[in-house]
Amino acid sequence: MEVYRKQGGYAAVEKALKTMTPDEVLEEVKKSGLRGRGGAGFPTGLKWSFLAKPEGVPRYLVCNADESEPGTFKDRDLMVRNPHSLIEGMIVSSFALGANTSYIYVRGELFYVIRILEKAISEAREKGFLGKNILGSGYDLELYVQPGGGAYICGEETALIESLEGKRGNPRIKPPFPAVSGVWGCPTVVNNVETIAATSWIVQHGGDEYAKIGIGRSTGTKLISACGNINKPGIYEIELGLPVEEFIYSDEYCGGIAGGKRLKAVVAGGSSVPVLPANLILKTMAGESRLMSYESLAEGGFVSGTMLGSGGFIVMDEDACIVRNTWNFTRFYHHESCGQCSPCREGTGWMEKVLHRIEYGHGKMSDIDLLVDVAAKIEGNTICPLGDAAAWPVGSAIRHFRDEFEWHVREPRLSQERNYGLAGYADPLPVQAAEA
């Protein structure tokens, strides 16, 4: 607390509560161009402006700290290292939304984070930043930490709300959106940890300042959790717009592929987004350099692009087996499916079984088309995006790495012994080129 205060912490709270109206805060957030850091990248200001405000009905802000997507591990660190930045963000955001009760829903496994947050909250309360009549502004706010139910699906905002209410974490059908009927049936905004933490900076420095950072409609900075076969796995705060190539190879960031090997593929935004082969992750189809931004990564649609997602950057080198990776992801999605809608509940299980069979050398050629068919039928036809998240890795892996799947089926014995390697979708930039 002391350290945070010294570095100017809670100045945003003072500024917002004492000198601004809630609408002015909202206006700054709109101007900043801040987009949701939870995965979908939806403009935060716009989302807030959708919040219904019926007479006499309370409103809620919920911070989504359920972070359980494979490859994404940024929120955890943010909360451990700087819990007050989140709390400060919660206060100014709740103020902007007119919420007098707010929740931080934390992934259940992160019990130590829960303790840290609770301690930080009581510190903030002692200093008068929480509770009744904060800083004499007349604004009241209670902030609660809610341990999660221990399922990935509870990170989906409506499932999170169900879980928060003490029910089974099944996603709800939208509409109605949480902005109309969320926690306890009341209007609610759900935002990611990183999103909320960014709001205090925006309040303090102004939306226009924030908008200057980044590129185009991808404003600001973003935490990227990088992992896989790289020299320096970890969490990096980057300015949006950084070239992917620089991110992978620069010593400031990932420091290149581990062991001097060659890049094979990247899952750029957490396990849910389409995987791209080396050539397509570094350059778009049009030959332009790919940048770490919402727009650039999405360039080419799903045919040749992907998504920034939650910023989980998984790098695979030439020895990585795509089939095995895809199976592994699918196993995760199958396990985490809430079991509510048929395509995801049954489809993910089936895909997992088929992928397992191919990986272990018992696949048939027709299995590959079967996977495509099942994935395509899941995509867009489920209640929540977990279905899509399960379908995209499979669809993209087969789209870009079909040879490798076929090789697994054709050469069951070989595929058990060695890797298919880089083949046609190889890294167009040899390691040396990047170093030069």
Binding site: R172, P175, S181, H335, C341, S342, T348, K377, G380
Partner: protein, 902 residues
């Protein structure tokens, strides 16, 4: 109306519905699982997908779930679109990846929605080459089987059980394709509507356990449209038979009475029909040789002619049977076989409904009430189905408000339910003791019947000063009466409920006063007054004397021959009185279905047909006349009571019934000679009704084994029985389409073998049946006139030392005479004990399980007690009709024997 383009053809459809309902109503076959017409949509199964197009130009379109999309004018959708067809087949393919496909040994087979939908989507080739997941099943008690491997995860079971019926012991557990629908551990499913799961579940997970003991496929049973005899709600049922055995009861849709659902007493209480305790043979004391119909008639007629006769009618016998007895013995000699208190309560009820200003509600009217006051009724035990309706009513107001605020249609069940949270429309329940409906109540009070009536009158006074003010109310009572009156006055469609439950005329009168006062102030109010048995209302309408006077008539020698119609007098009057009555009567002739104590004493026993073996008309508590039809022709001399009585009259040389032979004759005669029953001749088509010269077949066209099933007795096929009483045939010959609504023997449509085929029988999905929901209301209030309020001034309930005011308590499982012959129902019967306030028991030095000795009407009794903290002091309840509980004509004061202290 909106114009909806389906595969480019325009249709006029109702706005506000969803696309699935619209398509089904238009007759399209669109598959679905999770949507249910009474429970709305949740969009979980994804089976109902169609293609939706933005406009005429849009050729790609987008898959949408038809159950989740509201009908919009000019909307364009396609059912036949290749992607939509493929997707729907894909859903079935997915469901089948984990479905055991064990139709041959599955109880659902042949009436399975999953089978129907599978065939409908055209999926037939399996690409899944792995093991399927398996579960451990649970023992859920006597009513339902559980076979979880067959689950397709449509969530309907918990949506019905938890959300719709308020059950607490069934849930979804686990995740992904291993979600489990069950209890947290083995054990009896507690909710009183659990049996509906067998119909709600579209697969063979939840199936009827009572059917399993004599399992038969739907197509192999003979079915008939019937009525539940379990209480006075008059729920419509389908009764199904094979091999002379009644095998299953399922609900028969009637939008005005029971909708899609019935209670477990109704569904599982049928086993007495097949019971060992049935009266199947003629019995004449001392003359075992008399076994055939003719000699019986001769003997009985001789006895009837010999003396002066009186007849005792029954609230569980049909109108026709009661009418026949009344004709046979003469109006002056016709008595009601009901307890005297009950006689007074029911007659009062009838008078209030006939002469008052307020109508009784239909089921949809109950469900749409926006403020409810219950005075004295323990509804789950006196009118079970009504509680299910009230549960929907209390969510409706908040649901409608939220639907408008959020712009989400009411049928989007998950969203509306979610937004409602715990909010409820006002429901005030004032009863003598804690009851099930308390969970629905915004406020519950527990008061003695006297005090309930005082509160009732006080509410009426607060609404209309013409009702006398009630003196000596406590401050709390004053506050609540003012609040309740204000809430009722604010409502648009208030509903007042009372009835026989508290055993108090004053309570019923106070309810009437509240309803009348509301009516006077311009409210569209309804008044529901429960009555005990399936034809209590019909019997009261027919008229007759009190049972007490019958006992007197014999005691004083005015009569010596007694004909008892379908009645066990030991359940109607105290034992000593009945003993004396039966001993003094020279001849006791009993027509009944099941052996009981009265049968032991009767000289002549005549086997009467049960509802499954007889046709007849009943009047429900709503005042609705409805017809039930015979399912099968029993072996031996069993036949309808009205037929026996007609034959007896003939044998006696009594000509009053000579011109009546078949059911229609009776119905017409009753309608003609008793103006209060005018209209019963129109509730169902007459026996000569034909469709294309055909009768309506009771057996499905796939009925099998017809020529073989009796071959072990006689190789040549017996001539099938003919049915002269109804337009139904006993065989598979006949019309198999959609008949008039009152004579639908079972629901079936091409491609729709399960109960879901009801859709095809409705004018629009969820709406009334083609040609209207069956039955006709006979009691309507007179023209709007100013009511004459009862406005009674009862004194507050006095607590008397060494006395207890004992009132009756009813049990859905246990009280009703016949249903306890089903072992499953009997196993759920409560303990035979008196319940009293804990403080009272403490003051007597008694604890739970101790015996209470007392005197009532000069008799001594001894019964165990149970204590309850929430009971008012000075009052106790006795569970009525249970095994081991002697009859007492309650309510009344009992005198406690001093407890001996050592």
């Amino acid at each position: 109306m909106a114009t909806l383009f389906i595969d480019n053809a325009p249709y006029q459809v109702k706005e506000g519905k969803n696309l699935l309902e619209a398509c089904l109503s238009l007759g399209f076959d669109l598959p679905y699982f999770c949507w249910h017409p009474a429970m709305g949509s949740v969009g979980a199964c994804r089976q109902c997908a169609v293609k939706s197009f933005r406009d005429e130009e849009d050729t790609r379109g987008k898959l949408v779930m038809s159950c989740m999309e509201p009908v919009r004018d000019q909307a364009r959708i396609s059912i036949q679109d290749a992607e939509a067809v493929g997707f729907r087949a894909g859903i079935i393919e997915w469901l089948m990846t984990n479905h055991p496909h064990d139709c041959a040994v599955c109880d659902e087979g042949g009436s399975c929605h999953l089978q129907d939908m599978t065939v409908m989507t055209g999926h037939n080739y399996r690409r899944f080459r792995f093991n399927k997941r398996t579960y451990r099943n649970q023992d859920l008690g006597p009513f339902l089987n559980h076979e979880m491997n067959r689950c397709i995860h449509c969530y309907r079971c918990i949506r019905f059980y938890k959300d719709y019926a308020g059950g607490k012991d069934l849930d979804a557990m686990g995740a992904h394709n291993h979600v489990y629908f069950g209890r947290s551990e083995d054990g009896v499913l507690e909710n009183e509507f659990s049996g509906n799961l067998a119909e709600v579940c579209p697969t063979g997970v939840f199936t009827d356990k009572s059917l399993k003991q004599h399992y038969t496929r739907k197509w192999d049973m003979t079915h008939a449209p019937s009525l539940c005899q379990g209480c006075a709600m008059g729920c419509n049922i389908i009764a199904s038979e094979r091999y002379g055995e009644l095998r299953q009861i399922s609900s028969r849709f009637n939008g005005e009475v029971n909708g899609y659902f019935i209670c477990d007493r109704g569904r599982f209480g049928y086993e007495f029909v097949n019971s060992e305790d049935r009266i199947r043979e003629i019995g004449v004391k001392g003359k075992p040789e008399i076994k055939d119909r003719d000699s019986l008639l001769r003997t009985a007629a001789a006895r009837i002619r010999e003396g002066s006769v009186l007849g005792i009618g029954s609230p569980r016998a049909s109108l026709e049977s009661n009418f026949a007895l009344r004709k046979l013995v003469g109006e002056d000699n016709f008595y009601h076989g009901v307890a005297d208190t009950e006689f007074d309560l029911v007659n009062l009820t009838l008078r209030i409904l006939k002469e008052g200003t307020v109508r009784t509600p239909t089921l949809p009217e109950i469900e749409s009430a926006d403020a409810i006051l219950i005075l004295g009724e323990d509804l789950i035990n006196t009118a079970p189905r009504m509680v299910l309706a009230l549960r929907q009513a209390v969510r409706r107001g908040p649901g409608e408000a939220l639907s408008a605020r959020m712009n989400v249609p009411l049928w989007q069940d998950a969203a509306i339910r979610q937004a409602i949270q715990q909010d409820k429309a006002p429901l005030f329940s004032i009863t003598p003791y804690p009851v099930r409906q308390d969970e629905l109540a915004t406020k519950s009070l527990y008061e003695s019947p006297d005090d309930i009536s005082r509160i009732g009158f006080a509410i009426a006074h607060a609404i209309d000063p013409d009702v006398t003010e009630i003196k000596r109310l406590s401050d709390e009572e004053r506050m609540w009466t003012a609040h309740m009156a204000a809430v009722l006055l604010r409502a648009e469609r208030p509903l007042i409920i009372s009835g026989y439950g508290a055993g108090s005329e004053a309570v019923i009168k106070s309810a009437a006063d509240v309803a009348w006062a509301l009516k006077k102030s311009g409210k569209d109010v309804r008044l529901s007054l429960t009555v005990p048995e399936c034809n209590s209302m019909g019997l009261a309408m027919m008229g007759g004397h009190r049972l007490e006077s019958a006992l007197d008539a014999v005691a004083h020698g005015h009569a010596d021959t007694v004909i008892i119609l379908e009645n066990d007098l030991y359940r109607r009057a105290e034992k000593t009185l009945v003993d004396e009555f039966l001993q003094k009567s020279r001849h006791v002739i009993l027509l009944d279905q099941v052996y009981h104590q009265t049968a032991e004493e009767a000289d002549v026993i005549i086997p009467a047909g049960t509802f499954a073996e007889a046709d007849g008309t009943l009047i429900s508590g709503e005042g609705r006349a409805q017809r039930f039809y015979q399912v099968f022709v029993p072996d031996g001399p069993v036949q309808e009571s009205w037929r026996w009585l007609q034959q007896l009259a003939e044998a006696c040389g009594n000509r009053t019934l000579s011109h009546l032979r078949i059911l229609d004759d009776f119905v017409l005669e009753i309608a003609k000679t008793c103006p209060q029953f005018e209209g019963i001749e129109h509730i169902a088509p007459p026996s000569d009704f034909r469709i294309g010269a055909q009768k309506i077949a009771r057996q499905p066209h796939r009925y099998s084994g017809r020529t073989a099933k009796e071959a072990h007795i006689q190789v040549s096929e017996r001539k099938p029985p003919s049915d002269e009483d109804s337009p139904l045939s006993f065989t598979m010959e006949g019309y198999h389409g959609i008949p008039p609504s009152a004579v639908v023997p079972f629901f079936w449509a091409p491609g729709w073998n399960s109960i879901q085929s009801i859709n095809k029988y409705q004018i629009e999905v969820g709406g009334p049946l083609h040609d209207g929901d069956p039955g006709r209301r006979l009691i309507e209030p007179g023209d709007a006139h100013t009511p004459v309020f009862f406005a009674e001034q009862a004194a507050p309930f006095p607590i008397r030392p060494d006395c207890l005011y004992l009132i009756p308590q009813y049990a859905i499982f246990g009280t009703e005479e016949f249903s306890v012959h089903s072992p499953g129902i009997a196993s759920r019967s409560p303990a035979a004990a008196i319940t009293v306030a804990r403080a009272d028991a403490d003051s007597w030095g008694l604890r739970d399980g101790d015996l209470l000795e007392f005197q009532f009407n000069g008799q001594e009794y001894k019964l165990a007690i149970q204590t309850n903290q929430q009971y008012p002091r000075g009052m106790g309840t006795l569970p009525i009709g249970l095994k081991g509980v002697p009859f007492m004509d309650l309510p009344g004061w009992i005198r406690l024997k001093p407890v001996e202290r050592s």
